[in-house]
Symmetry: C2
Subunit: 120 residues, 2 copies
């Protein structure tokens, strides 16, 4: 049931996700590690475009067959999508021939909230 590393990353549980807005409290070292991994995943132009292609598809889901036109090879696309999955920004599901990618709204919301200035 658990993965081989034994390290659980509860990134898919909205309530368990860090973090408060950066403007309201200093990030702990542990939270900084977790959040930095997510920002880093979006810190590559091709990966960010792939993510935006999935996110802007109806209902935040796209077939991998529909999002490959980003100017890199198919293995590179797969590599980037795996990185986005690893940090919890995307989930995937195979249906027949194709793999479908879906954004994880709670993770996106947590990142947005962290950058939000609140009422300012």
């Amino acid at each position: 049931m658990s993965n081989s590393s034994g390290v659980e990353l509860p990134v898919l549980e909205p309530e368990a996700m860090c973090c408060p807005p950066l403007t309201s409290a200093e990030l702990s070292e542990a939270d900084a590690v977790k959040m930095a991994a997510m920002f880093k995943a979006l810190g590559d132009p091709v990966r960010l475009r792939l993510f935006s292609k999935v996110a802007s598809h109806p209902e935040g889901e796209a077939c991998v067959c529909d999002i490959q036109d980003v100017g890199v090879s198919q293995p590179t696309v797969s590599h980037h999508l795996k990185k986005l999955k690893d940090v919890g920004l995307l989930t995937s599901e195979r249906r027949g021939t194709w793999v479908y990618y879906r954004i994880e709204p709670s993770v996106l919301a947590a990142m947005s909230r962290t950058l939000d200035r609140g009422s300012a």
Copy 2:
């Protein structure tokens, strides 16, 4: 007056900043390059902690002398702060002996908006 197809990087002008929410429209290649640079800047745990230290200080400004306790050398702190400045997330000002860093709220807001799911 408008810059709908401009090639400049007006990162400090709130209204000119990209981008629409990722869930509403696919990022252009140019916007992806610009946004990825900002996400990448926050994609390092030490840099993110430094940024959160500035952001959570009163009025979003901190003396460099108050934010150096992140477990790395002073030159490394300076290096990280420069990266955050380069992408427009921080500005700095020397006053007497010390340099003061300040968050750029419009850039933070633009990043938050890009990750926002809107009403969903």
